[in-house]
Amino acid sequence: MRTRIKELRARYNLTQEGLAKKVGVRRETIVFLEQGKYNPSLRLAHDVAKALKSKIEDVFIF
């Protein structure tokens, strides 16, 4: 799975720590999400997409 989290994060000037705080997870989880090494729950995917003002399918690419 690929993600556009890093790109969208840069667009909205968000740090990994900032995004992690927004969605209520640890920074490490965001790191692994960005690397495509972690499959998030639907809830987390929704929260991340919402924090990045995007749709889930635009953030997570299968």
């Binding site: 992690a20 997870v25 640890r26 989880t29 692994f32 090494k37 972690y38 729950s41 987390l44």
Partner: protein, 175 residues
């Protein structure tokens, strides 16, 4: 709201520890039985939130254990295991309070999944250890007392869970 809930649960944990302590005035065995029953009761009341309160409960019980020894008129220094337990308990309380105060997210969905997975693995390793120790004892290769048997299992579970958790945390997906 969440803070209020946390406070309530901590009060329950402290009340349970106090009950154990008071029961020690009557009988040490009763206090031990109450401690075990209290742990089950608290885990039932807290349901899915036990994992957040577990260090606090454990620490309360450990500290209570030291006080029980002292109140029973025994020399606490003659029970180094309990004294050590009390110190570990106090350290756990301090660490839990410090981490909670820092406001960082300690457990998210990934760490909870990893924790559960490492627990499952450590149970499996402990099961293998039981089988190995049983056959060693049965074949007469080595004779173990119940205390030794329990001790080996206790440390096998603790150490294997910690190592597996560390390994899984370094890896990407917990699946």
């Amino acid at each position: 709201m969440k803070k209020q809930e946390d406070g309530k649960q901590q009060i329950i944990a402290v009340a349970a520890a106090l009950l154990v302590l008071l029961s020690a005035l009557i009988d040490a065995r009763l206090s031990f039985a109450l401690a075990i029953a209290g742990l089950f009761a608290v885990s039932f009341i807290m349901k899915d939130k036990l994992w957040r309160q577990a260090p606090f409960i454990l620490a309360s019980v450990l500290v209570a254990a030291v006080v029980v020894v002292v109140m029973n008129g025994q020399d606490a220094l003659s029970a180094p295991g309990l004294v050590m337990g009390g110190l570990v308990g106090a350290a756990i309380i301090a660490l839990a309070l410090y981490r909670r105060k820092s406001g960082a997210v300690l457990n998210d969905e990934r760490t909870i999944a990893i924790h559960n997975r490492s627990m499952a693995y450590s149970w499996w390793i402990a099961y293998l250890m039981i089988a190995i120790l049983f056959w060693f004892d049965y074949s007469g290769y080595m004779k173990l007392t119940a205390i030794q048997f329990g001790g080996v299992l206790l440390f096998t579970m603790l150490i294997s869970q910690a190592l597996i958790k560390r390994y899984l945390l370094c890896r990407g997906d917990s699946e």
